[in-house]
Amino acid sequence: MNEITRIGPADGVAALEGAIAPERPALPLAVLAEITHRCPLQCPYCSNPVELERSNAELSTDEWKRVISELAGLGVLQFHFSGGEPTARRDLVELVAHASKAGLYTNLITSAVLLDEKKLAALKEAGLNHVQISFQDSDERIANRVAGYKDAHRKKLAVAGMVRAAGLPLTVNAVVHRQNLHHLPEMIQMSIELGAARMEVAHVQYYGWALKNRAQLMPTVEQLDEATRVVEEARERLHGTIVIDYVIPDYYARRPKKCMGGWGRQFFNISPSGKILPCHAAESITTLRFDSVRDHAIEWIWNESEALNKYRGTSWMPKPCQGCEMAEIDWGGCRCQAFALTGDAGNTDPACELSPRHQEIFQMAKAESEADERRFLYRNFAGGTWEKIDDPVA
Protein backbone atom coordinates (compact mmCIF):
# COMPACT_ATOMS: atom_id res chain seq x y z
CA MET A 1 0.00 0.00 0.00
CA ASN A 2 2.90 2.32 0.60
CA GLU A 3 3.98 1.97 -3.03
CA ILE A 4 2.43 5.36 -3.36
CA THR A 5 5.21 6.98 -1.38
CA ARG A 6 8.00 5.67 -3.53
CA ILE A 7 7.57 7.93 -6.49
CA GLY A 8 9.97 10.76 -5.98
CA PRO A 9 11.58 12.43 -8.95
CA ALA A 10 15.12 13.52 -8.30
CA ASP A 11 14.88 16.69 -10.29
CA GLY A 12 11.56 18.17 -9.27
CA VAL A 13 9.90 16.99 -12.44
CA ALA A 14 7.73 13.95 -12.48
CA ALA A 15 8.90 10.93 -14.34
CA LEU A 16 8.64 7.23 -13.85
CA GLU A 17 11.53 4.99 -13.10
CA GLY A 18 11.29 1.37 -13.97
CA ALA A 19 11.66 -1.11 -16.72
CA ILE A 20 12.55 1.22 -19.54
CA ALA A 21 15.38 0.59 -21.93
CA PRO A 22 18.04 3.25 -21.31
CA GLU A 23 18.73 3.74 -25.02
CA ARG A 24 15.08 4.25 -25.98
CA PRO A 25 13.19 5.72 -23.03
CA ALA A 26 9.44 6.28 -23.01
CA LEU A 27 8.16 9.82 -23.33
CA PRO A 28 8.26 11.80 -20.08
CA LEU A 29 5.15 12.20 -17.98
CA ALA A 30 5.75 15.91 -17.55
CA VAL A 31 6.97 18.53 -20.00
CA LEU A 32 8.24 22.01 -19.26
CA ALA A 33 7.50 24.70 -21.84
CA GLU A 34 9.48 27.93 -21.86
CA ILE A 35 6.79 29.77 -23.78
CA THR A 36 8.79 33.00 -23.92
CA HIS A 37 12.20 34.29 -22.92
CA ARG A 38 10.79 37.76 -22.23
CA CYS A 39 10.89 38.62 -18.52
CA PRO A 40 10.71 41.84 -16.52
CA LEU A 41 13.25 40.51 -14.03
CA GLN A 42 16.99 40.34 -14.69
CA CYS A 43 18.18 37.68 -12.24
CA PRO A 44 21.89 37.03 -12.72
CA TYR A 45 21.39 33.25 -12.33
CA CYS A 46 18.64 32.89 -14.93
CA SER A 47 18.49 29.37 -16.37
CA ASN A 48 17.70 30.67 -19.84
CA PRO A 49 20.50 30.60 -22.41
CA VAL A 50 22.71 33.68 -22.79
CA GLU A 51 21.47 33.87 -26.40
CA LEU A 52 17.81 34.61 -25.63
CA GLU A 53 15.14 33.94 -28.27
CA ARG A 54 13.33 37.07 -29.46
CA SER A 55 9.54 37.40 -29.34
CA ASN A 56 9.23 37.16 -33.13
CA ALA A 57 10.79 33.70 -32.99
CA GLU A 58 8.25 32.40 -30.44
CA LEU A 59 5.71 29.74 -31.37
CA SER A 60 2.30 31.24 -32.14
CA THR A 61 -0.82 30.52 -30.09
CA ASP A 62 -1.95 27.94 -32.63
CA GLU A 63 1.46 26.29 -32.69
CA TRP A 64 1.52 25.96 -28.89
CA LYS A 65 -2.01 24.54 -28.96
CA ARG A 66 -0.94 21.96 -31.52
CA VAL A 67 2.08 21.06 -29.37
CA ILE A 68 -0.09 20.72 -26.26
CA SER A 69 -2.60 18.46 -28.03
CA GLU A 70 0.23 16.39 -29.48
CA LEU A 71 1.78 15.90 -26.02
CA ALA A 72 -1.55 14.91 -24.42
CA GLY A 73 -2.05 12.40 -27.24
CA LEU A 74 1.37 10.90 -26.53
CA GLY A 75 0.46 10.30 -22.88
CA VAL A 76 2.12 13.32 -21.23
CA LEU A 77 0.20 14.09 -18.01
CA GLN A 78 1.59 17.37 -16.72
CA PHE A 79 2.46 20.60 -18.46
CA HIS A 80 4.56 23.32 -16.83
CA PHE A 81 4.18 26.84 -18.22
CA SER A 82 7.54 28.50 -17.71
CA GLY A 83 9.77 31.12 -19.31
CA GLY A 84 11.20 33.77 -19.22
CA GLU A 85 8.05 35.00 -17.64
CA PRO A 86 5.08 33.01 -18.99
CA THR A 87 2.57 35.68 -18.00
CA ALA A 88 4.31 38.02 -20.47
CA ARG A 89 2.41 36.13 -23.18
CA ARG A 90 -1.07 37.51 -23.74
CA ASP A 91 -2.45 34.12 -24.78
CA LEU A 92 -1.49 32.36 -21.51
CA VAL A 93 -5.09 31.94 -20.32
CA GLU A 94 -6.06 30.51 -23.70
CA LEU A 95 -3.14 28.06 -23.60
CA VAL A 96 -3.91 26.97 -20.03
CA ALA A 97 -7.54 26.39 -21.00
CA HIS A 98 -6.42 24.36 -24.00
CA ALA A 99 -4.06 22.22 -21.88
CA SER A 100 -6.70 21.75 -19.24
CA LYS A 101 -9.29 20.61 -21.79
CA ALA A 102 -6.74 18.18 -23.20
CA GLY A 103 -6.66 16.60 -19.71
CA LEU A 104 -3.23 17.90 -18.68
CA TYR A 105 -2.40 18.90 -15.11
CA THR A 106 -1.15 22.47 -15.42
CA ASN A 107 1.47 24.34 -13.43
CA LEU A 108 2.49 27.99 -13.75
CA ILE A 109 6.14 28.78 -12.93
CA THR A 110 6.21 32.55 -12.53
CA SER A 111 7.99 35.57 -11.10
CA ALA A 112 4.48 36.83 -10.22
CA VAL A 113 5.25 40.52 -10.79
CA LEU A 114 2.87 40.81 -13.77
CA LEU A 115 -0.03 39.01 -12.03
CA ASP A 116 -3.02 40.49 -10.26
CA GLU A 117 -6.33 39.20 -8.87
CA LYS A 118 -8.14 39.47 -12.18
CA LYS A 119 -5.50 37.56 -14.15
CA LEU A 120 -5.27 34.87 -11.47
CA ALA A 121 -9.04 34.41 -11.48
CA ALA A 122 -8.96 33.99 -15.27
CA LEU A 123 -6.17 31.43 -15.01
CA LYS A 124 -8.02 29.50 -12.34
CA GLU A 125 -11.19 29.60 -14.41
CA ALA A 126 -9.14 28.22 -17.32
CA GLY A 127 -8.26 25.22 -15.16
CA LEU A 128 -4.83 26.08 -13.75
CA ASN A 129 -3.88 23.52 -11.07
CA HIS A 130 -0.81 24.94 -9.33
CA VAL A 131 1.37 28.05 -9.05
CA GLN A 132 5.09 28.27 -8.32
CA ILE A 133 6.51 31.68 -7.46
CA SER A 134 10.21 32.47 -7.39
CA PHE A 135 11.59 34.53 -4.51
CA GLN A 136 15.04 36.11 -4.52
CA ASP A 137 15.35 36.59 -0.74
CA SER A 138 13.20 37.26 2.32
CA ASP A 139 14.88 40.65 2.67
CA GLU A 140 13.19 43.14 0.36
CA ARG A 141 16.30 45.15 -0.43
CA ILE A 142 18.42 42.17 -1.47
CA ALA A 143 15.48 40.51 -3.26
CA ASN A 144 14.89 43.56 -5.46
CA ARG A 145 18.58 43.97 -6.11
CA VAL A 146 18.98 40.34 -7.25
CA ALA A 147 15.87 40.58 -9.44
CA GLY A 148 17.05 43.89 -10.89
CA TYR A 149 13.47 45.10 -10.55
CA LYS A 150 12.07 47.76 -8.26
CA ASP A 151 9.31 46.60 -5.95
CA ALA A 152 9.53 42.97 -7.15
CA HIS A 153 9.49 41.50 -3.65
CA ARG A 154 6.42 43.38 -2.41
CA LYS A 155 4.50 42.33 -5.55
CA LYS A 156 5.50 38.70 -5.13
CA LEU A 157 4.30 38.65 -1.52
CA ALA A 158 0.99 40.20 -2.55
CA VAL A 159 0.45 37.78 -5.45
CA ALA A 160 1.36 34.78 -3.29
CA GLY A 161 -1.44 35.84 -0.95
CA MET A 162 -3.83 36.11 -3.90
CA VAL A 163 -2.86 32.62 -5.08
CA ARG A 164 -3.76 31.14 -1.69
CA ALA A 165 -6.94 33.23 -1.47
CA ALA A 166 -7.96 31.81 -4.86
CA GLY A 167 -7.61 28.32 -3.39
CA LEU A 168 -4.64 27.43 -5.57
CA PRO A 169 -1.72 25.49 -4.11
CA LEU A 170 1.55 27.41 -3.91
CA THR A 171 5.17 26.38 -4.20
CA VAL A 172 7.85 28.89 -3.23
CA ASN A 173 11.02 28.57 -5.27
CA ALA A 174 13.99 30.12 -3.47
CA VAL A 175 17.21 30.23 -5.45
CA VAL A 176 20.07 30.49 -3.00
CA HIS A 177 23.67 31.64 -3.38
CA ARG A 178 26.44 33.38 -1.45
CA GLN A 179 24.68 36.75 -1.34
CA ASN A 180 21.39 35.51 0.20
CA LEU A 181 22.16 32.23 2.01
CA HIS A 182 22.40 33.99 5.36
CA HIS A 183 18.61 34.51 5.11
CA LEU A 184 17.69 30.86 4.44
CA PRO A 185 15.88 30.36 7.80
CA GLU A 186 13.86 33.54 7.13
CA MET A 187 13.05 32.35 3.59
CA ILE A 188 11.70 29.08 4.99
CA GLN A 189 9.65 31.01 7.55
CA MET A 190 8.38 33.33 4.80
CA SER A 191 7.24 30.31 2.76
CA ILE A 192 5.32 28.94 5.72
CA GLU A 193 3.63 32.26 6.40
CA LEU A 194 2.68 32.55 2.74
CA GLY A 195 0.84 29.22 3.05
CA ALA A 196 3.08 27.36 0.63
CA ALA A 197 2.67 23.60 0.88
CA ARG A 198 5.96 23.10 -0.89
CA MET A 199 9.25 24.93 -1.13
CA GLU A 200 12.23 24.43 -3.38
CA VAL A 201 15.55 25.51 -1.94
CA ALA A 202 17.68 25.47 -5.05
CA HIS A 203 21.34 26.32 -5.04
CA VAL A 204 22.28 28.10 -8.26
CA GLN A 205 23.39 25.74 -11.02
CA TYR A 206 26.23 27.24 -13.02
CA TYR A 207 25.29 27.41 -16.70
CA GLY A 208 24.41 30.29 -18.98
CA TRP A 209 23.84 33.50 -17.03
CA ALA A 210 24.79 31.90 -13.73
CA LEU A 211 28.12 30.81 -15.16
CA LYS A 212 28.81 34.45 -16.07
CA ASN A 213 28.00 35.38 -12.46
CA ARG A 214 29.66 32.40 -10.82
CA ALA A 215 32.18 34.39 -8.81
CA GLN A 216 29.37 36.62 -7.50
CA LEU A 217 27.12 33.69 -6.52
CA MET A 218 29.26 30.73 -5.48
CA PRO A 219 28.64 29.88 -1.81
CA THR A 220 31.50 29.23 0.55
CA VAL A 221 32.01 25.69 1.78
CA GLU A 222 30.86 26.82 5.23
CA GLN A 223 27.67 28.36 3.81
CA LEU A 224 26.84 25.16 1.97
CA ASP A 225 27.28 23.06 5.11
CA GLU A 226 25.13 25.47 7.09
CA ALA A 227 22.39 25.53 4.41
CA THR A 228 22.22 21.75 4.37
CA ARG A 229 21.96 21.72 8.16
CA VAL A 230 19.18 24.35 8.10
CA VAL A 231 17.18 22.42 5.50
CA GLU A 232 17.53 19.11 7.32
CA GLU A 233 16.49 20.68 10.62
CA ALA A 234 13.51 22.44 8.97
CA ARG A 235 12.35 19.27 7.23
CA GLU A 236 12.19 17.45 10.53
CA ARG A 237 10.55 20.30 12.42
CA LEU A 238 8.03 21.10 9.68
CA HIS A 239 7.05 17.57 8.65
CA GLY A 240 3.46 17.71 7.45
CA THR A 241 3.45 21.53 7.24
CA ILE A 242 5.70 22.12 4.26
CA VAL A 243 7.63 19.84 1.93
CA ILE A 244 11.13 21.14 1.20
CA ASP A 245 12.94 20.00 -1.93
CA TYR A 246 16.65 20.73 -1.89
CA VAL A 247 18.97 21.08 -4.87
CA ILE A 248 22.65 21.16 -3.90
CA PRO A 249 25.48 22.75 -5.85
CA ASP A 250 27.79 20.10 -7.14
CA TYR A 251 31.07 21.98 -7.45
CA TYR A 252 31.63 20.94 -3.83
CA ALA A 253 30.22 17.44 -4.22
CA ARG A 254 32.17 14.20 -4.48
CA ARG A 255 29.87 12.72 -7.07
CA PRO A 256 27.90 14.54 -9.78
CA LYS A 257 24.15 15.04 -9.64
CA LYS A 258 21.88 12.73 -11.59
CA CYS A 259 21.24 15.60 -13.95
CA MET A 260 17.70 15.52 -15.40
CA GLY A 261 17.59 11.82 -14.48
CA GLY A 262 19.96 11.24 -17.39
CA TRP A 263 20.21 12.95 -20.78
CA GLY A 264 17.04 12.30 -22.79
CA ARG A 265 15.68 9.77 -20.33
CA GLN A 266 12.98 11.41 -18.20
CA PHE A 267 12.64 15.01 -19.24
CA PHE A 268 12.54 17.48 -22.04
CA ASN A 269 11.67 21.12 -22.29
CA ILE A 270 10.52 23.16 -25.23
CA SER A 271 12.16 26.49 -26.03
CA PRO A 272 10.08 29.55 -27.04
CA SER A 273 10.73 28.79 -30.70
CA GLY A 274 9.84 25.11 -30.32
CA LYS A 275 13.19 23.41 -29.90
CA ILE A 276 13.07 20.16 -27.91
CA LEU A 277 15.88 20.29 -25.34
CA PRO A 278 17.01 17.61 -22.87
CA CYS A 279 17.41 20.32 -20.21
CA HIS A 280 17.05 24.09 -19.80
CA ALA A 281 20.72 24.71 -20.32
CA ALA A 282 21.39 22.34 -23.23
CA GLU A 283 21.78 25.12 -25.77
CA SER A 284 24.91 26.19 -23.89
CA ILE A 285 26.49 23.18 -25.62
CA THR A 286 27.12 25.08 -28.81
CA THR A 287 28.31 22.03 -30.73
CA LEU A 288 24.80 20.48 -30.73
CA ARG A 289 21.86 21.29 -32.99
CA PHE A 290 18.38 20.76 -31.56
CA ASP A 291 15.29 19.85 -33.59
CA SER A 292 12.12 21.93 -33.53
CA VAL A 293 8.45 21.02 -33.26
CA ARG A 294 8.07 23.21 -36.35
CA ASP A 295 9.94 20.63 -38.44
CA HIS A 296 9.20 17.26 -36.87
CA ALA A 297 6.67 15.32 -34.80
CA ILE A 298 7.55 15.42 -31.11
CA GLU A 299 7.65 11.63 -30.86
CA TRP A 300 10.15 11.52 -33.73
CA ILE A 301 12.37 14.14 -32.09
CA TRP A 302 12.35 12.30 -28.76
CA ASN A 303 13.29 9.00 -30.37
CA GLU A 304 15.43 9.97 -33.34
CA SER A 305 16.96 13.42 -32.87
CA GLU A 306 20.74 13.25 -33.05
CA ALA A 307 21.19 15.67 -30.13
CA LEU A 308 18.93 13.67 -27.81
CA ASN A 309 20.61 10.39 -28.73
CA LYS A 310 24.11 11.78 -28.45
CA TYR A 311 24.48 11.30 -24.66
CA ARG A 312 21.69 8.81 -23.98
CA GLY A 313 22.45 5.67 -22.05
CA THR A 314 26.06 4.73 -21.31
CA SER A 315 27.75 3.87 -24.61
CA TRP A 316 28.97 7.47 -25.20
CA MET A 317 30.77 7.56 -21.85
CA PRO A 318 34.53 8.07 -21.58
CA LYS A 319 36.68 6.56 -18.85
CA PRO A 320 36.31 6.62 -15.85
CA CYS A 321 32.51 6.69 -16.40
CA GLN A 322 32.59 3.68 -18.73
CA GLY A 323 32.13 0.62 -16.56
CA CYS A 324 31.73 2.71 -13.37
CA GLU A 325 29.28 1.21 -10.90
CA MET A 326 27.53 4.62 -10.79
CA ALA A 327 27.11 4.86 -14.58
CA GLU A 328 23.42 3.95 -14.52
CA ILE A 329 22.80 5.83 -11.27
CA ASP A 330 24.10 9.32 -12.05
CA TRP A 331 24.20 8.75 -15.84
CA GLY A 332 27.52 10.57 -15.97
CA GLY A 333 26.30 13.77 -14.31
CA CYS A 334 25.81 16.93 -16.32
CA ARG A 335 26.79 17.37 -19.99
CA CYS A 336 26.41 21.16 -19.87
CA GLN A 337 28.79 21.34 -16.94
CA ALA A 338 31.30 19.11 -18.71
CA PHE A 339 31.11 21.43 -21.73
CA ALA A 340 31.32 24.64 -19.68
CA LEU A 341 34.30 23.51 -17.63
CA THR A 342 36.27 21.32 -20.05
CA GLY A 343 35.12 22.44 -23.50
CA ASP A 344 33.83 18.95 -24.40
CA ALA A 345 30.32 17.81 -23.41
CA GLY A 346 31.47 14.20 -23.76
CA ASN A 347 34.01 14.47 -20.94
CA THR A 348 33.44 13.26 -17.40
CA ASP A 349 31.55 15.85 -15.36
CA PRO A 350 34.27 17.59 -13.29
CA ALA A 351 31.88 17.51 -10.32
CA CYS A 352 32.83 13.84 -10.01
CA GLU A 353 35.87 13.18 -7.85
CA LEU A 354 37.01 10.61 -10.43
CA SER A 355 37.39 13.38 -13.03
CA PRO A 356 40.98 14.53 -13.52
CA ARG A 357 39.65 18.12 -13.27
CA HIS A 358 37.79 17.67 -9.98
CA GLN A 359 40.34 19.19 -7.57
CA GLU A 360 40.90 22.14 -9.86
CA ILE A 361 37.14 22.88 -10.02
CA PHE A 362 36.77 22.56 -6.27
CA GLN A 363 39.68 24.94 -5.64
CA MET A 364 38.35 27.43 -8.19
CA ALA A 365 34.91 27.48 -6.53
CA LYS A 366 36.46 27.89 -3.12
CA ALA A 367 38.75 30.71 -4.26
CA GLU A 368 35.94 32.54 -6.06
CA SER A 369 33.64 32.32 -3.05
CA GLU A 370 36.35 33.67 -0.76
CA ALA A 371 37.29 36.56 -3.08
CA ASP A 372 33.70 37.74 -2.61
CA GLU A 373 33.15 39.72 -5.82
CA ARG A 374 29.57 41.05 -5.58
CA ARG A 375 28.69 43.09 -8.62
CA PHE A 376 26.12 41.29 -10.83
CA LEU A 377 25.91 41.00 -14.58
CA TYR A 378 22.13 41.26 -15.10
CA ARG A 379 20.33 39.04 -17.59
CA ASN A 380 18.75 40.83 -20.55
CA PHE A 381 18.36 40.74 -24.32
CA ALA A 382 21.31 43.12 -24.71
CA GLY A 383 23.73 40.39 -23.67
CA GLY A 384 23.86 41.51 -20.05
CA THR A 385 24.29 44.77 -18.14
CA TRP A 386 26.63 45.32 -15.21
CA GLU A 387 25.04 46.36 -11.95
CA LYS A 388 25.58 50.02 -11.19
CA ILE A 389 27.28 50.10 -7.85
CA ASP A 390 26.47 53.75 -7.10
CA ASP A 391 22.84 53.41 -8.09
CA PRO A 392 21.47 50.18 -6.62
CA VAL A 393 18.03 49.17 -7.86
CA ALA A 394 16.48 48.99 -4.43
Binding site: E3, V13, L29, P169, A197
Partner: protein
Amino acid sequence: MDGAASSTPGANVHKRVVITVNSKPALPSFVRLHHDKARDRWVILVPERVLVPDETAVEIVQMCDGVKTVRDLVDELAKKYNADRALITVDVLAMLQDLADKSFLEDKGATP
Protein backbone atom coordinates in the same frame (compact mmCIF):
# COMPACT_ATOMS: atom_id res chain seq x y z
CA MET B 1 10.28 39.04 9.04
CA ASP B 2 10.84 41.55 6.26
CA GLY B 3 7.74 42.47 4.31
CA ALA B 4 5.29 40.29 6.21
CA ALA B 5 2.84 38.67 3.87
CA SER B 6 -0.54 39.36 5.38
CA SER B 7 -2.18 41.50 7.98
CA THR B 8 -2.88 38.42 10.07
CA PRO B 9 0.45 36.64 10.31
CA GLY B 10 0.11 32.89 10.26
CA ALA B 11 -3.46 32.95 8.92
CA ASN B 12 -2.39 31.09 5.80
CA VAL B 13 -0.06 28.61 7.43
CA HIS B 14 -0.68 24.97 6.66
CA LYS B 15 -1.55 23.06 9.78
CA ARG B 16 -0.54 19.45 9.85
CA VAL B 17 -3.58 17.29 9.09
CA VAL B 18 -3.68 14.36 11.50
CA ILE B 19 -5.78 11.48 10.20
CA THR B 20 -7.75 9.49 12.77
CA VAL B 21 -10.60 7.01 12.42
CA ASN B 22 -12.99 9.97 12.79
CA SER B 23 -11.43 11.97 9.94
CA LYS B 24 -13.45 12.50 6.76
CA PRO B 25 -10.68 12.42 4.15
CA ALA B 26 -10.99 14.01 0.73
CA LEU B 27 -8.63 15.00 -2.05
CA PRO B 28 -8.06 18.79 -2.27
CA SER B 29 -9.08 20.41 -5.54
CA PHE B 30 -5.52 20.43 -6.86
CA VAL B 31 -5.03 16.69 -6.38
CA ARG B 32 -6.52 14.65 -9.17
CA LEU B 33 -7.04 10.90 -9.36
CA HIS B 34 -6.71 10.30 -13.07
CA HIS B 35 -6.97 7.26 -15.29
CA ASP B 36 -3.91 7.32 -17.54
CA LYS B 37 -5.29 5.91 -20.79
CA ALA B 38 -1.93 5.68 -22.54
CA ARG B 39 -0.58 3.35 -19.86
CA ASP B 40 -3.89 1.90 -18.65
CA ARG B 41 -3.38 2.61 -14.98
CA TRP B 42 -4.50 5.03 -12.30
CA VAL B 43 -2.27 7.92 -11.29
CA ILE B 44 -2.61 10.75 -8.79
CA LEU B 45 -1.63 14.09 -10.30
CA VAL B 46 -0.16 16.58 -7.85
CA PRO B 47 2.19 19.56 -8.19
CA GLU B 48 5.50 18.42 -9.70
CA ARG B 49 4.71 14.76 -9.09
CA VAL B 50 2.86 11.83 -10.53
CA LEU B 51 2.03 9.25 -7.89
CA VAL B 52 1.36 5.70 -8.98
CA PRO B 53 -0.88 4.10 -6.38
CA ASP B 54 -1.34 0.36 -6.20
CA GLU B 55 -4.82 -1.15 -6.58
CA THR B 56 -5.64 -0.99 -2.88
CA ALA B 57 -4.55 2.63 -2.65
CA VAL B 58 -6.70 3.51 -5.66
CA GLU B 59 -9.69 1.85 -4.03
CA ILE B 60 -9.16 3.75 -0.78
CA VAL B 61 -8.60 7.11 -2.47
CA GLN B 62 -11.78 6.60 -4.52
CA MET B 63 -13.68 6.21 -1.25
CA CYS B 64 -12.33 9.50 0.15
CA ASP B 65 -15.35 11.69 -0.56
CA GLY B 66 -15.17 14.00 2.45
CA VAL B 67 -18.35 12.44 3.87
CA LYS B 68 -17.29 8.95 4.88
CA THR B 69 -15.07 8.64 7.95
CA VAL B 70 -11.96 6.50 8.00
CA ARG B 71 -13.94 4.15 10.24
CA ASP B 72 -16.54 3.82 7.44
CA LEU B 73 -13.77 3.08 4.94
CA VAL B 74 -12.33 0.39 7.17
CA ASP B 75 -15.77 -1.16 7.70
CA GLU B 76 -16.35 -1.40 3.97
CA LEU B 77 -12.91 -2.87 3.29
CA ALA B 78 -13.16 -5.36 6.18
CA LYS B 79 -16.51 -6.58 4.88
CA LYS B 80 -15.42 -6.73 1.27
CA TYR B 81 -12.18 -8.60 1.92
CA ASN B 82 -13.35 -10.46 5.01
CA ALA B 83 -10.18 -9.23 6.72
CA ASP B 84 -9.10 -8.15 10.18
CA ARG B 85 -10.30 -4.62 11.04
CA ALA B 86 -7.34 -3.78 13.22
CA LEU B 87 -4.82 -4.62 10.50
CA ILE B 88 -6.78 -2.72 7.86
CA THR B 89 -7.05 0.29 10.17
CA VAL B 90 -3.28 0.45 10.60
CA ASP B 91 -2.66 0.24 6.85
CA VAL B 92 -5.34 2.73 5.86
CA LEU B 93 -4.27 5.28 8.49
CA ALA B 94 -0.64 4.98 7.44
CA MET B 95 -1.42 5.49 3.77
CA LEU B 96 -3.77 8.42 4.35
CA GLN B 97 -1.43 10.11 6.83
CA ASP B 98 1.35 9.84 4.29
CA LEU B 99 -0.80 11.61 1.69
CA ALA B 100 -1.85 14.22 4.27
CA ASP B 101 1.77 14.93 5.21
CA LYS B 102 2.48 15.77 1.58
CA SER B 103 -0.61 18.06 1.70
CA PHE B 104 -2.42 15.83 -0.79
CA LEU B 105 -5.31 15.02 1.56
CA GLU B 106 -7.79 17.11 3.54
CA ASP B 107 -9.94 16.22 6.52
CA LYS B 108 -13.45 17.56 5.90
CA GLY B 109 -14.41 16.54 9.42
CA ALA B 110 -11.82 18.73 11.09
CA THR B 111 -12.97 21.91 12.80
CA PRO B 112 -11.37 24.85 11.00
